[in-house]
Symmetry: C2
Subunit: 343 residues, 2 copies
């Protein structure tokens, strides 16, 4: 179990009878070193299996080339897509990723932030946990000038950039679409509106109703955890409403699918009796029958944009503080679940 001794620039220097300074410079491809010595050094380095010591380097340099990522959960289609996007950009730019999940708990999120901080991440990409109320735990980072970018689940603040879509508008479009399909009583299934995404979607939904003079009362609002199982529970509530809705806008596809399946079981026809619109364009939306109309939401791109912005800021190409909000395009994808007028 003995670890082989690491090769250092000292070893290279000694063998070639030159100074470590020259070796160090050569390895960085410093133009000041002659081509000849460089060649010798590179060859020996290869031969002896030299690898640079990131820690010694970081100890001097003050940057770690590491980006921290904190997400509510890793195992959701949307989030894993975002992370794939982040990973793509970060890797190409030579940055490493430290990833952790808050499991939707503010407490775990605080711990993660602390760990990231202690690991000296150069910057942080965060999508907030469901029950995070305030974001004071990020203040330590601001104080050290460590940039933070929030994506998707963001916070009201003007310290750092937010990357997200226009949830209000998307929800408005979704609801309006249902209205245009002839729905008169539209319900909304969502989570407790404490995160921006749910607050905004609720607002967009209400705005569309108001605009078309459709009524809104609280029994049209069904609050759950947006899981597929919860969608099934929502279905039971829907069926219990005296004036049964003829359209439902759900704040995510998973829950929409759970609800649709349960309603179909109960003999409800979709979209004839109840039309559906979901949110996210999760692959499952193309499996459920009828296929689910939904909001396409560019997760991979969101990851790329967030990472790119952070890195640009870190490398001094751009500064984060100048742009406070980046809105990505989202669009309604119409499928069978909402098509009452088969024109």
């Amino acid at each position: 179990m003995e670890k082989e001794k690491e090769v250092t620039i000292y070893d290279l220097a000694r063998k070639l009878n030159i100074s470590i300074a020259t070796v160090s410079r050569a390895l960085k491809d410093d133009p000041v070193v002659s081509k000849k010595t460089k060649k010798k050094i590179f060859e020996l380095a290869e031969e002896m299996g030299y690898r640079s010591n990131h820690f010694a380097r970081n100890l001097r340099n003050k940057r770690t080339d590491t980006i921290g990522v904190i997400v509510p959960r890793l195992n959701s289609y949307f989030m894993s897509t975002v992370i794939a996007g982040i990973e793509n950009v970060a890797n190409n730019e030579g940055f490493n990723l430290i990833i952790s999940q808050s499991s939707e708990s503010a407490q775990k999120e605080m711990n993660s932030v602390k760990t990231m901080f202690n690991n000296r991440v150069d910057g942080l990409l965060v999508s907030l946990a469901y029950d995070t109320e305030d974001i004071t735990h990020f203040e330590t980072l601001y104080r050290k000038n460590i940039p933070v970018i929030f994506f998707d689940r963001v916070a009201e603040q003007d310290m750092c950039t937010n990357v997200l879509i226009d949830n209000r508008r998307a929800a408005y479009e979704a609801t309006k679409h249902l209205i245009q399909q002839g729905c008169k009583r539209i319900a909304h299934i969502t989570a407790t509106p404490k995160r921006n995404v749910y607050i905004d979607r609720l607002e967009g939904y209400k705005r569309a109703l108001a605009e078309f003079d459709l009524p809104f009362s609280n029994d049209q609002l069904i609050i759950g955890n947006l899981s597929q199982e919860d969608g099934a529970l929502a279905a039971a509530q829907i069926l219990a409403i005296p004036e049964r809705p003829d359209g439902i806008f759900v704040a995510n596809d998973n829950s929409a699918v759970g609800c649709m399946l349960a309603l179909k079981q109960a003999g409800i026809r979709i979209p004839e009796d109840i039309a559906f619109v979901g949110f996210n364009n999760d692959p499952v939306s193309k499996v459920v029958e009828p296929n689910l109309t939904t909001i396409n939401y560019p997760g991979y791109e969101m990851g790329e944009v967030a990472a790119r912005n952070l890195i640009n800021h870190l490398t001094g190409i751009a500064t984060i503080t100048s742009t406070n909000t980046i809105l990505l395009r989202s669009e309604l994808v119409v499928r069978g679940s909402s098509l009452k007028n088969k024109t």
Copy 2:
């Protein structure tokens, strides 16, 4: 943009008029330091916002408390579940994760390994890319005694532990189930059998056929990339087979679902005309109609087991080399897609 100066043990020592040695010891909770001085030090550290410098520490110690993870892709349900499991264990044990995806490319995998190596990960968890032929790129790690654990997509070798399920057996059970439901001509949709998972599943499938004296010919074997889209293409092939199969065992759920949807479109009844069994128990298997019979495959647990084993090895609790293979339980989950006998 000035970075605030970092607080070091020198600062603490100076303020308290003691030596840095004492401060260092106190911060590690070394019992040799008196309670009183410890208290003073902790309080001051808190007050001044001291945080230890991992790089200086790692430079001295030879461990980084970092585990590297390389997976074919992040945005698949199964993989993101595995990573959630890894993350859970690693975080609890105070290890950080560096994650990268090979995008199913052997070349990118080699790069990732190199990066991980240069980042001095203490150990590596790997699920191999689809087209990785040999695993010589891990040899540098062996030489430095950096432990590697493969999971799910593993390699034939006896240098390190593999964590996986018994794919052969699972495939055998799946196929046998179809046979017991009365299927006589069973096809298999899978990827080119170069990775263990596909090789083994193919073998299990063939073994079941042989055992029940059912014929096998190459036109029953449909090779693709196992995506949902590819499942639809497979459907076309299925329909073109002269003696149309009455049962299909698919090496993953996504592809099975794509195939089912396309066949249904073509007027095939499932399971009456063709029965289906998938693999993975992806959530989508409970959405497609009829629900997909599949192999439940404990991703989260697999991540936990792999991480736990690696960490136990790193901390000296157990040694990896003693256990070469860890098989996790998997089981057939019977749903509507295969139930021909509704007894």
